[in-house]
C-alpha cells in the first residue's frame, strides 16, 4: 500500500507518562515520527497531541486504534493533509554581516513576509509561519547564501476542516 503523510490528532487526560506510551506504539511498528507537538487543548485538563508520520492507511488506522485504547487517551483520529488546516513556525538565525553584504537575502525575507524579531551587529533572527514546504523552501534559499547560523522548525499544528467536533461531542455524550 502507498505510504502517505498522515496527521494524528490525539486528546488525552493530563497524566504523566502518556507521551511515552503514545510514541511507543509507533516504535513497536518501526514508524518514525516526523513531527510531534503537545500542548494544552481548549478544554481544561485535556492535552492535545499533533503527530505526523509516513505510513500506509492500513497501518496508520491500526496505530490510531492502539493509541485510542491506552488508558487516559480520550480520542485519536488520523487525517490526510486535505482534511486539515495546518501550520508550523520556523526560526532562522542569520549572520548580520552576511545579510548586510547580500541585498538578495533581504529580498528573499521580504518576499516571504517573514518578520525580523531580533537584530544586532552579530546576528539577525527571522520568523516564518506556514506549511512545511514554505518554511523548508526559505531554509533552502537562505542556505544557498551560507548565512544560516541556526534553524529550528516547530512541529505541525493542525485543526480539522470537518464541521464535526469529535471531542466536544464525545464529552457531551459522557455528561448525558
Amino acid at each position: 500500500m502507498e505510504k502517505k503523510l498522515y496527521t494524528l490528532i490525539v486528546h488525552s487526560e493530563h497524566m504523566a507518562g502518556l507521551l511515552n506510551q503514545i510514541t511507543a506504539v509507533f516504535t513497536r511498528r518501526q514508524i518514525n515520527i516526523e513531527s510531534l507537538n503537545v500542548s494544552a487543548s481548549s478544554i481544561e485538563g485535556i492535552h492535545r497531541y499533533t503527530i505526523t508520520a509516513w505510513a500506509d492507511e492500513d497501518t496508520i488506522a491500526k496505530v490510531t486504534l492502539q493509541i485510542a485504547k491506552k488508558i487516559d487517551v480520550l480520542q485519536a483520529q488520523y487525517y490526510l493533509d486535505s482534511e486539515i488546516f495546518m501550520q508550523e513556525i520556523a526560526l532562522y538565525k542569520l549572520s548580520t554581516p552576511l545579510l548586510m553584504a547580500n541585498p538578495e537575502i533581504c529580498e528573499i525575507i521580504r518576499r516571504n513576509d517573514a518578520p525580523i524579531i531580533e537584530t544586532n551587529p552579530v546576528y539577525t533572527v527571522v520568523e516564518k509561519a506556514g506549511r512545511t514546504a514554505e518554511t523548508e523552501q526559505l531554509r533552502r534559499d537562505l542556505t544557498a547564501f551560507d548565512c544560516l547560523l541556526q534553524y529550528v522548525n516547530s512541529g505541525r499544528i493542525a485543526v480539522t476542516r470537518s464541521s464535526e467536533e469529535h471531542l466536544t461531542d464525545f464529552l457531551k455524550t459522557l455528561n448525558e
Partner: protein, 579 residues
C-alpha cells in the same frame, strides 16, 4: 467517615473495600510498612508467601483465571518488582486481571539511583493496561479503586501500582474512593444494531459457517449465550487454546481445538467455510498459520470487546464490537434457526483421519513406553472430566490441552500468548485458592517444573492441593521436536539431565509416585486423586514423542503434519524463516 491512618493501612482498607481476600506476595525493604500493616490483617487476607516474585505474579494469574476475580500480588521495589515482569507480560497477552503492588523508594529519592530503585512505571507501561506511581498517601484511595476497575473491566489485564515508601508511612484521612466517570477508559464499546443486522444476514445466508470460540467468551461469562447461538444456528465450533472450555467437550457441534497443534478438522474447514464467526479471539499466529492464505474464501464476522483487535491480523467484513455476552444474545435473536447437517458431517472424515493416525495411537497405545496423551486422557477421565487443567508450556501443554476433556467453564489455565515456561506450578497454586472447590491438575514438563521448582515450598507452607503431573521425557521436548523437524535432528541443548523428583517432593513433604508402565497408570492416577493435598505424579514418558498434528510455523492453516507431504515442513521453514 474518615479516619486518620498510615498509607500502608489505607492500602489495607482499600483492598478490603475492593473485596480482596487473597494476596500472593514476598516482602522486602521497599514494601516493609505494608507488610507490617498486613500483620494486623491476618484475618482479612490469606497471605500466600511465594518463593520468588515471578511466582507471585503467576499465582495471581492462576487465581484470577480460575475465579474470574482480580488477582493481587505484593512485592518489594527493585528486583522484587522486576521479577514480576514476566507475569505482567503474560497477563497482558492473555487478558488476565491482576494488580501488582510494588514498593518504591521514597519520593525524594526518586531518580537518584537509590538502593533497590528501578523505574518500574516506565518499564511496565508497554506491558500492562495501566501503571501508576503513588507518591502521596492522599492518592491511595483513588489509585486503588481505579486500578481494580481498570484491571477487571472491559478486556481485562494487568495493572501496576508503584507505591513510594513515603506514601506508605505518611498519615492520611482515608475514605474509600467513588470513581467518577473515567472519560479516558471506555471499557465496553457500544455495539451497533446495523452491525448485528449485517452479521445476522451473513449467517442466515451461509452454507458452510464456522465459529471460532476464544477466551473472550469465558471472560464475559457468555458460555450459555454461545450454546444458545450455536444450537439455534447449527454452526460447528472450533475453540482456541484459551477457549477450550467455552463449550463442553462432548457437544456435537464442538469440533475441537484450532491452530498449530489443534485438530485437523477445524483447521482444514477454516479454509473451506463461507462465513467465519470469530468470538472473543484475536487471530493469533498460532491459530492462523500463514495469514496470506487464511480463510480467504470466507466472509469474516468478528465479535470482540477491543476495537483495536478488529482487522489487526485478518480483514473483517462485519465488526461487532461490544461485550459478547450481549452481542451473542442479540445475534441469537436476530438469526433464523438453521441446521447445517451435511456441513457438520463433513468434519467427520477429518476427525476419522486424525483418530486413526494420531489420537488412537496417542491415548490407546498397544505397546511401548507411556505416552503423554494417554496420561492426560486418563487423568481427565478419572477426575470425572471436572478438573481445572493448568499447564506449563511446551509438549506437556499441547498434549494435555488436546486430550483433557472439559465439562465446565474456566477449566483451562495456560500461558497462551507469551508461552511462559515456569508458569504452570505457581499458576496452579493460585488456581487452588481461586477455585478451592475444584480439583486442580497441573501438567508440566521436566524443563518447566525446574523454572519454578522453588514454589514447592509455597505448596508445602500453604497446603495448596495441586495435583502435579510431571511428564518427564528427559528433553526440552517441544524445542527438540522443532530441532528434529526443522533443524536436521541437531539436538542443541535439549537433552536434559534430571534430578530425582521423588526425593525433591519428599524434601518438601509432598507425596509422590513415579509411573513408567501402562499397567500401573490408572492406579497411580487414582492414588494421586484420592491423596489429600498436593501430590507429584511423575510419568516417565516416551522420550522422543512428537505432538501431532502440527501446522509447521508459517505454513497454511490446513496443511498439517502428518497429513501433508513430509518434505513440506523443512521447506516451509526455510522459505519463511531462514531465507
Amino acid at each position: 467517615m474518615k479516619n486518620r491512618i498510615t498509607g500502608a493501612e489505607a492500602l489495607m482498607q482499600a483492598l478490603i473495600h475492593e473485596g480482596v481476600t487473597t494476596i500472593f506476595g514476598y516482602p522486602g525493604g521497599g514494601i516493609m510498612p505494608v507488610f507490617d500493616a498486613l500483620y494486623d490483617h491476618r484475618d482479612d487476607f490469606r497471605q500466600i508467601l511465594v518463593r520468588h516474585e515471578q511466582g507471585a505474579a503467576h499465582a495471581a494469574q492462576g487465581y484470577a483465571r480460575s475465579s474470574g476475580r482480580v488477582g493481587v500480588c505484593l512485592v518489594t521495589s527493585g528486583p522484587g518488582a522486576t521479577n514480576t515482569i514476566t507475569g505482567i507480560s503474560d497477563a497482558m497477552l492473555d487478558s488476565t486481571p491482576i494488580v501488582v503492588i510494588s514498593g518504591q523508594v521514597g519520593a525524594t529519592a526518586l531518580g537518584t539511583d537509590a538502593f533497590q530503585e528501578v523505574d518500574f512505571v516506565c518499564i511496565t507501561q508497554p506491558i500492562c493496561k495501566w501503571s501508576y506511581q503513588i507518591r502521596r498517601a492522599e492518592d491511595i484511595a483513588w489509585a486503588v479503586a481505579r486500578a481494580f476497575y481498570i484491571a477487571g473491566s472491559g478486556r481485562p489485564g494487568p495493572v501496576v501500582l508503584d507505591f513510594a515508601k513515603n506514601a506508605q508511612t505518611a498519615m492520611v484521612d482515608f475514605e474509600p474512593a467513588q470513581l467518577p466517570i473515567q472519560r479516558g477508559f471506555i471499557p465496553v464499546p457500544e455495539h451497533s444494531d446495523e452491525a448485528i443486522r449485517r452479521a445476522a444476514a451473513l449467517i442466515d445466508g451461509a452454507q458452510r459457517p464456522l465459529l471460532l470460540a476464544g477466551q473472550g467468551i469465558e471472560l464475559a461469562g457468555a458460555q450459555e449465550e454461545l450454546l444458545q447461538f450455536v444450537e439455534k444456528t447449527g454452526i460447528p465450533v472450533g475453540c482456541t487454546l484459551l477457549g477450550l472450555s467455552t463449550l463442553p467437550s462432548g457437544h456435537p457441534l464442538r469440533q475441537g481445538m484450532l491452530g498449530m497443534h489443534g485438530n485437523l478438522a477445524p483447521n482444514v474447514k477454516t479454509n473451506e467455510c463461507d462465513v467465519l464467526i470469530a468470538v472473543g479471539m484475536r487471530f493469533d499466529d498460532r491459530v492462523t498459520g500463514r495469514l496470506a492464505s487464511y480463510a480467504r474464501q470466507a466472509k469474516v464476522i468478528h465479535l470482540d470487546i477491543d476495537p483495536s483487535e478488529i482487522g489487526k491480523n485478518v480483514p473483517v467484513d462485519v465488526a461487532v464490537t461490544g461485550d459478547c455476552k450481549v452481542t451473542l444474545a442479540r445475534l441469537t435473536e436476530a438469526v433464523r434457526p438453521a441446521e447445517h447437517r451435511e456441513w457438520v458431517e463433513s468434519f467427520g472424515l477429518y476427525h476419522q483421519m486424525e483418530d486413526e493416525r494420531v489420537v488412537i495411537p496417542a491415548i490407546h497405545p498397544a505397546e511401548g513406553p507411556l505416552k503423554m496423551g494417554e496420561v492426560a486422557r486418563r487423568v481427565s477421565e478419572l477426575a470425572g472430566d471436572a478438573a481445572i487443567l493448568v499447564t506449563d508450556v511446551g509438549q506437556n501443554q499441547m498434549m494435555s490441552a488436546r486430550y483433557f476433556r472439559y465439562a465446565r467453564p474456566r477449566s483451562i489455565i495456560t500461558s497462551g500468548g507469551l508461552g511462559t515456561m515456569g508458569f504452570g506450578l505457581p499458576a496452579a497454586i493460585g488456581a487452588t485458592f481461586g477455585a478451592p472447590e475444584r480439583i486442580v491438575c497441573l501438567f508440566v514438563g521436566d524443563g518447566g517444573i525446574q523454572m519454578s521448582l522453588q514454589e514447592l515450598g509455597t505448596i508445602m507452607e500453604s497446603g495448596a492441593p495441586v495435583k502435579i503431573v510431571l511428564l518427564n521425557n528427559n528433553y526440552l521436548g517441544n524445542v527438540r521436536q522443532w530441532q528434529e523437524l526443522f533443524f536436521h535432528h541437531r539436538y542443541s541443548c535439549t537433552p536434559m539431565m534430571n534430578p530425582d523428583y521423588g526425593m525433591i517432593a519428599s524434601a518438601y513433604g509432598i507425596p509422590s509416585r513415579t509411573v513408567s508402565e501402562r499397567g500401573y497408570l490408572d492406579d497411580a492416577v487414582r492414588e494421586m486423586l484420592r491423596t489429600p493435598g498436593a501430590f507429584l505424579l511423575q510419568a516417565a514418558v516416551e522420550e522422543e514423542e512428537n505432538v501431532m498434528p502440527m501446522t509447521p510455523p508459517g505454513a497454511d492453516v490446513d496443511q498439517m503434519l502428518p497429513f501433508t507431504d513430509p518434505a513440506t515442513p523443512a521447506e516451509t521453514w526455510k522459505r519463511n524463516f531462514i531465507h
